[in-house]
């Protein structure tokens, strides 16, 4: 009885049996790994593509073209900026100091001292602004140049100096001022920002 049973699986059938069992397993092992990777990558690609399309559709819903009135307003603002803000060149301090001194002296302010501070020395000051045409052409950087003025004058002299500052235009803006009475005169310290422009890279 035992010999009959073992004859089923003796050496003559072992190779075939191994082939029967091994062939599908080998096929599965060989084919399953790349297939799984492919399916995973394909799923990720599908997700990315769908998300991209969703994002485009969302942006299309939220973005509308600029109207002609908006375009005109932007063009006018840009022109005003170009007209009101002058270029100061590579050394703004050298150009600005005498200009301001003559401005305030012309207004009648006496005992004037002008100090030019580099922009990075004024932490709380405004940041440079980058503007351009709507199509990106003619880019320019608007640079805030901090200037400190110390002057001593009577109150009328101070008023004239402030009037001169206001009359100069939008490019010069008062940031901070401190006026201290010293007898009949007033000691004033003015911190202003003088905007200049230069072409951006």
């Amino acid at each position: 009885m035992a010999s009959r049973r073992s004859a089923l699986f003796d050496g003559s059938n072992a190779g075939l049996l191994a082939a029967v069992v091994a062939a599908p397993l080998l096929g599965l092992l060989v084919g399953l790994g790349p297939l799984r990777d492919f399916v995973r990558r394909a799923g990720e690609q599908q997700t990315v593509q769908r998300a991209e399309i969703e994002r485009i559709l969302e942006r299309r819903r939220t973005l509308s073209p600029l109207s002609s009135a908006e375009r005109a307003r932007v063009a006018a603002a840009l022109a005003a900026l170009e007209a009101g803000v002058a270029p100061l060149g590579a050394r703004p301090g050298e150009a600005l100091g005498p200009s301001l001194a003559s401005l305030f002296e012309g207004a009648g302010a006496g005992e004037l001292r002008v100090t030019f501070s580099p922009s990075d020395a004024v932490a709380a000051g405004p940041l440079p602004l980058l503007v351009a045409e709507l199509d990106g052409s003619r880019p320019m950087t608007l640079i805030p140049n901090p200037v400190r003025l110390a002057l001593t004058a009577d109150i009328n002299g101070i008023r004239r100096a402030l009037d001169a500052l206001g009359a100069h235009g939008h490019a010069m803006q008062l940031e901070r001022a401190e006026l201290v009475r010293a007898g009949a005169r007033v000691e004033a310290v003015l911190e202003i920002v003088y905007w200049s422009r230069e072409a951006a890279q």
Partner: protein, 494 residues
């Protein structure tokens, strides 16, 4: 359900085609799957051109030298019963082996039952050679007695748990098998033989002689059956016979049946009554039932009379065929799996390509959107820069003039600080007095605050709010105010 219909229902459960062969004086049934056996013919003549039966072949034979023994093993598990069977087989074979011994073990409700089948080696070799000569290379050869015993398991149970007698009637010999619900118990070859070469019920030339022959035959059957039953019940004490089943390839068994009913008063079952020549290749009900016994009788290696020398190569070939089929099926399955995987991958690729095409259609849209977003961003920067730079300054000269004009008598400005805040320009005014006591100074400061509040250029912050948010650095009186008309509404919200 009457017994006949019950037997027919049993026969209908066997899906295999049955082929009937005559080997000398014996009948041999060979069965194979209907798929392979389709078209094979009944082979009654040695050397005929009938195609050999393919597939798994099992045959039932009757050889007088076969011995069967049954051992009931109550409470013994199947595994232990197999060990017992191996031991018994080894004992019976002897050394050197002169007898072919095979066993069949079946689990029962009470435990296990073991049948031992033995026959001389030379008989088994002759039998196998004769079968092969007729194109039957049998995987298993089962004794007819054991097959009929297994057939008894399919029949309706006898009332009261009695035994079943299966009477197999042939022209040359007859056989009676006594079985219980588990199978073979006892068998006896009965010397019943028709005296002429015709089936019972046929019309002979000499009607008187025929009638006498038939009468003697039936009487003989009844007597021999009665003797057998008496032997089983009284001498062997196996139990009471409660059922009789008539079977065999002979036609015209009705007179026998009637006589048995009249004498034994036992329920009679009939399996098949068609004459042998009319079988064609269609399954004979009785042989089908006998082969059902084979199907219930264990594996091809059990209770078989095929010699070991012939059986092992056949089993190997059979295993090889099974393995080959499994290999083909596995390869087909693998191919199907690969095809399905390829179709799946192809579907995914198509889906990705479709998405890519869709995304490429959006490329132009994306560029237009990017341009539009860039325009909006640049417009916002220009407008923000213009708003930041062109913010109007307060009229400083007018403010100082208004402040000077609003000063109460003996009160003067000691210090004035202006700072640009995100909300607007903030002015702090420190005041001193000359010749005023503290209360009068406070009163004068309050008056100045009221006067400034009345002017549109100033938005004085109440002193209690100012004190809560920003305490004064020194003890001097102080007024804090916003000084940008454009920022007045924003300052109010502080």
């Amino acid at each position: 359900m009457n017994p006949r219909r019950a037997v027919d229902a049993v026969l209908g459960r066997f899906p295999r085609r049955t082929l009937l062969h005559r080997v000398g004086a014996d009948l041999v049934w060979a069965q194979g799957p209907s798929w392979f056996a389709r078209g094979a013919a009944l082979d009654a003549n040695p050397g005929s051109a009938a195609p050999a039966v393919r597939g798994d072949r099992e045959a039932v034979v009757h050889v007088p030298e076969i011995r069967i023994a049954r051992v009931d093993l109550p409470g013994v598990r199947l595994r232990d019963a197999r060990r017992i069977a191996e031991r018994r087989c080894a004992d019976l074979r002897g050394d050197p082996p002169a007898v072919h011994v095979s066993s069949l073990v079946r689990r029962t409700r009470a435990g296990s039952v073991l049948w031992l089948v033995s026959a001389p080696n030379d008989v088994c070799l002759e039998l196998d050679a004769e079968l092969r000569q007729r194109g039957i290379e049998a995987d298993r050869v089962l004794p007819l007695s054991l097959a009929l015993g297994a057939l008894a398991r399919l029949l309706p149970a006898a009332e009261g748990g009695g035994l079943t007698a299966l009477l197999w009637l042939e022209q040359e010999w007859s056989h009676c098998v006594i079985a219980d619900s588990e199978g073979w118990l006892f068998d006896r070859q009965i010397p019943l033989k028709l005296g002429f070469d015709a089936a019972i019920g046929a019309t002979p030339a000499n009607a008187v002689a025929w009638e006498e022959e038939e009468h003697q035959f039936i009487e003989h059957v009844v007597v021999e059956l009665g003797r057998t039953f008496n032997y089983v019940e009284r001498n062997l004490s196996l139990g009471r016979v409660a059922n009789v089943c008539l079977c065999g390839p002979l036609a015209g068994l009705e007179p026998v049946e009637h006589a048995l009913v009249a004498n034994q008063m036992l329920p009679i079952l009939r399996l098949g009554a068609r004459p042998l020549p009319s079988l064609g290749w269609a399954p004979h009900p009785a042989s089908g039932a006998a082969l059902g016994g084979i199907a219930l009788g264990g594996s091809v290696a059990e209770a078989t009379l095929v010699p070991d020398a012939a059986l092992v190569p056949r089993l190997k070939a059979r295993a090889r065929r099974s393995l080959l089929r499994a290999a083909v099926a596995a390869c087909a399955l693998l191919a199907l799996g690969l095809a399905a995987a390829a179709a799946y991958v192809s579907g995914i690729s198509t889906s990705i390509e479709r998405l890519r095409a869709q995304a490429s259609r959006w490329e132009g849209e994306r560029a237009a959107l990017a341009q539009l977003a860039g325009e909006r961003e640049r417009a916002r920067r220009v407008l923000d820069a213009h708003a930041a730079i062109s913010q109007p300054q307060p009229p400083w000269s007018a403010l100082l003039t208004a402040l000077g004009g609003s000063m109460p008598e003996r009160l003067f400005v000691a210090k004035l600080a202006i700072a640009r805040e995100p909300e607007g320009w903030r002015m702090e005014i420190w005041l001193d007095s000359e010749g005023l006591d503290e209360a009068a100074t406070a009163d004068a400061v309050a008056r100045l605050g009221n006067r400034l509040s009345a002017l549109p250029l100033f938005s004085v912050i109440p002193s209690e709010r100012q004190a809560a948010h920003e305490p004064a650095a020194d003890s001097r009186q102080r007024i804090v105010t916003w000084v940008a008309p454009a920022e007045r509404s924003g300052a109010d919200g502080e």
